[in-house]
Symmetry: D2
Subunit: 341 residues, 4 copies
């Protein structure tokens, strides 16, 4: 048996550990061979595939990024499933492990369920927005980097008696903002799931300021203030209710400064959150997911993905996991709010 493995979509810490886990498990427990597919679906469509041995995955558990490269190529582009079948046959590949986020897994589910292609999945989303798994790998590392960054920013904010607005990843969900905000003791946490009006933000900032703290505002990139549309309308601004180009942190900082009178600066963590060596937590999770994916490929569990349930790695139908976002639930938001201000 020969298993192809690929990483697709945005990269994240832990991809290499998944690859290593899968190859080690496959090679040692099942005596199967591996092939590395370059840059996600692109490599499968363009036949950019090379052998991948246990030698190639040595020392990978702690290395950031992905040795296989990644791209956002769509699986139904450039020949689509038919072309894939050709390539798999030509290469003698009997199974594909697709590691990727919502888009990748939706594609993988369709390929497996509708086209009959031999695909299993491993979920990867730094934002932790994928249902069907307790946590996704990469999320812990991103939260750790954000937390460490906020720790740093706090010291300079306190020295200058400033408010600091920190923008973290999270286009649709606020998990990183929630965890990093709680871990670093933020005074305001702003997430897409629970839009609050400007006044609430200012109140949190003032409350921290009144107690002599340098207010720390953590905002997910996808957050939009509840009354942003009205504010824009009232000001006759052309902006249409969406954060402007510079991002939400840059938009909020001057507004907070104006409303509260406290000097306010913004920082956008951006790509820093994706990079570097994964945390021990993510390395363990990734390795286990990779090992489980090798088992799934050998057992021909097409259309399934490896996922975390409490302390166990289990199997979940990809089609069930990809149809909805995992949002921060009301209970976690209520818990967080007690700590704000």
């Amino acid at each position: 048996m020969r298993i192809g493995i690929m990483t697709s979509g945005g990269d994240g810490p832990g991809l290499n550990a998944v690859i290593r886990g899968a190859v080690r498990k496959g090679a040692r427990a099942h005596r199967v061979e591996f092939a590395g597919i370059r840059d996600g679906w692109r490599g499968l469509l363009e036949d950019d595939i090379s052998p991948l041995t246990t030698y190639d995955v040595r020392g990978l558990s702690g290395r950031g990024g992905t040795i296989l490269g990644t791209s956002r190529t769509h699986p139904y582009s450039g020949g689509g499933p038919d072309r894939m079948r050709e390539v798999l046959a030509a290469r003698g590949i009997d199974a594909v492990i697709a590691i990727g986020g919502e888009g990748t897994l939706a594609g993988a589910a369709r390929l497996a369920d509708d086209e009959g292609l031999p695909v299993v999945g491993v979920p990867k989303t730094i934002d932790n927005d994928l249902d069907g798994t307790d946590y996704t790998f990469g999320f812990d590392t991103a939260s750790a980097i954000a937390t460490e960054s906020i720790d740093r920013l706090r010291t300079t904010a306190e020295s200058h008696h400033r408010c600091m607005v920190v923008e973290v990843m999270g286009r649709h969900v606020g998990w990183i903002a929630l965890h990093a905000g709680m871990a670093a003791g933020a005074h305001a946490v702003l997430i897409p799931e629970f839009p609050v009006p400007y006044d609430r933000i200012y109140r949190w900032v003032r409350s921290a300021q009144d107690r002599g703290r340098a207010p720390i505002v953590v905002v997910a990139e996808g957050f939009v203030p509840e009354d942003r549309g009205e504010a824009v309308a009232a000001k006759g601004d052309a902006r249409d209710g969406r954060p402007r180009l510079g991002g939400i942190a840059e938009e909020l900082a001057p507004l907070i400064e104006e409303a509260t009178g406290i000097e306010t600066r913004s920082t956008v963590l951006g790509h820093l959150q994706r990079g570097g060596s994964p945390t021990a937590y993510d390395r363990v999770l990734s390795t286990r997911l990779g090992m489980a994916a090798a088992d799934m490929a050998v057992e021909r569990a097409w259309g399934q993905m490896a996922s975390l349930d409490s302390t166990e790695i289990v199997r979940v139908r990809m089609a069930d996991a990809v149809d909805r976002l995992k949002r921060v639930p009301r209970s976690r938001w209520d818990e967080m709010q007690i700590l704000l201000g």
Copy 2:
């Protein structure tokens, strides 16, 4: 209402975050007051107690150690439950949050269940050996420190073509060795739950060496080789089957060197694993546990402890959790073994 809070037994990263979480939640959601009990049961028995305000817990989520101090004083010493009742009454304290490990919680359970004292618990064990919770706080930080240390040691081992034996915490269970060993790509992982004979260890070391790697052996402090008794008997050694004073790593290193011919060094991480700022993961877990404990105290859930179940904080009877160790199960050991050698 006034809630006393204390930390007892060995310290660990996250204790301060639990304290902060409890005080913030209690003060803000329930309008209760807090009192800080110094050095665990000692402070309760000797009436070493001071007010603890939200001001006192500012900025604590990322600070290592415990601002309340800790000790190993036994709750049934120095007056015991009767003396505690006196002190609680005199101080007007209506509930006690006890944060500690197996011993502390066993004491807390007995005080609550048998003596009718108003005690709730928060489990803390760096070793992660407590049943009734998915993970305990402090464990992630310890695993992270061990992983980072092994990453470091690997570079010097490779330069010198040496084998490196790293001793991590884990007197009765091998969770830290398991996680750090998997995260850092160790070639041998030795844990108390699954004693292996010397020859297996040497085989793992030789296998790594044969592939050109610098063999990394991670050993939990409580590991004893399966055939240690025989080895000792055969050599006419006075050592009686227990690791000698210097610890298991120091004992193994020269044996590995002798058996495999590869120069071998040992490092004992020791207290480093307890210290310093907790990881983001542990800060979030600790904060949530502290907040839940404040709720439990207010709701008079005596004899219960806050614990982690998947992604939720739940309540568990302390008496049920403390009666057995949470050992590394066979399935996790089998999973690990595939990666060794």
Copy 3:
């Protein structure tokens, strides 16, 4: 004797270690008292001053920021030297240690030399742009943070086959870009002292790309491409040769992408470089500078500052140090260029 101490201008890692060093040395070796002046010259002009004891400076060597606060208040505002004389007399303060950058030290020099005020200095500039000292404290920490950040960004750049433009501090000089760029193995380093034309930048990027690397461009915030004026003129752009609001990294990224065809992203490290715990190097340097400043105050070395010469702390006339920037010299730039591309 009573010594006032203050921090002024932008904050930086190591300020607290200077304060601690000065107070410990003064209290223990000279038996003098200290007073903490809040927020730089503001505290001196507004009499915002409190006693500062060895107790207050406990554990400060590793803490970022400044416990005394800082501001950009000008020493000749609000009453100026006359007002300072009044406040110093009223408080019984016989000497002032002023810790700050070019502006602060220029003010301190004038106060000491022209007004006869009892002021000594400690140089602080993260940018390392101050003459009269080998290095300033804070610079090593900022370079370390920038280096670690570039290490992180490299992994994500490589996974996506992208070029990454990283903007670091350095309005007038390129020391941080030079050191972080060399430490992290950047393919292009752009500093204000040596403007290069766009084509050179693109050539460096292409050269790295041709060798299969993800090109890393490190740019100091004050860098302006040599032919920027022409480019702007040719395009009929209204921009007048200065980097646009978003910063030089944001300006360069799309130009590099257009010219080289490689997808390019930018990251601005900003305030992250000022924050957090200082490196061991900066802690040692800061502590020693603070200790030397206490000696200088006791010995009435008005108008002098403590500075680093090789491995020794020496005294330098502030007026001599502040009249010119310490730029990256041609020799260091030539050395760097060999490594680029």
Copy 4:
């Protein structure tokens, strides 16, 4: 021209950056070729040598250890200089860059000066004990790791009201203990250059304890208490004035506990200080030294080594540098003592 390069003696952070700097500079500025000599003098004596290209040194600036391996083989063993001449001739190698510590450089000096071999040097000693250079690379990283470790240990010491004894590297000199002790705010620093009697150590510990601190004792591995001989004689102990097998920290801890009544624990940092990614400071220093060494080889500066003088890389005769240890001078010790207790 072809230049051989080797690393010899104990490894340390920055070796790879030196190699990369030399190869990049030689290849790009001088168009010379490189050959990698495996495991120090062993590779030269046993002709274990391979080509080393710029491709081989990609991404090395931040990697710990040495890709060339190292050993403690003596240059006058196994054929010695005559054999080396043969190998160099056979391989067409015109110059050798030897990177190593006191022993390596003493050998290199003799080979160059007495035997006429074409050897230049780069000094490497983590202990910073080599004269003729301000600092050696690796020292900053080791000091940083020790500082971070002491920061960690402090939190657990404070929680338990314990004294912590931390043993750092430094067989003959106390530079790491001095810098890490100052950076981390230690209460006692014990270095070989300035032996103090037991009573002074106890006094420092008690003084910290009296002020409510958890006493931190940093001891260089080569420290011997001034009156150790007497203590041993008085106790009728067989130990002859040298630290016993377990190291000085293990020896001191129970004595401190007995004398002061404070519970005392010891930690030996050992190999951790050699491992892992070098600091930004060490990467810059190493890269510059490597580049300078390539120049020296091209310019046939036999018998010289690259060294740091203030901010410049200069050349120093190896024979002059290796004949004496660089000890911590009295002035630095006096400076340190003010901060102790």
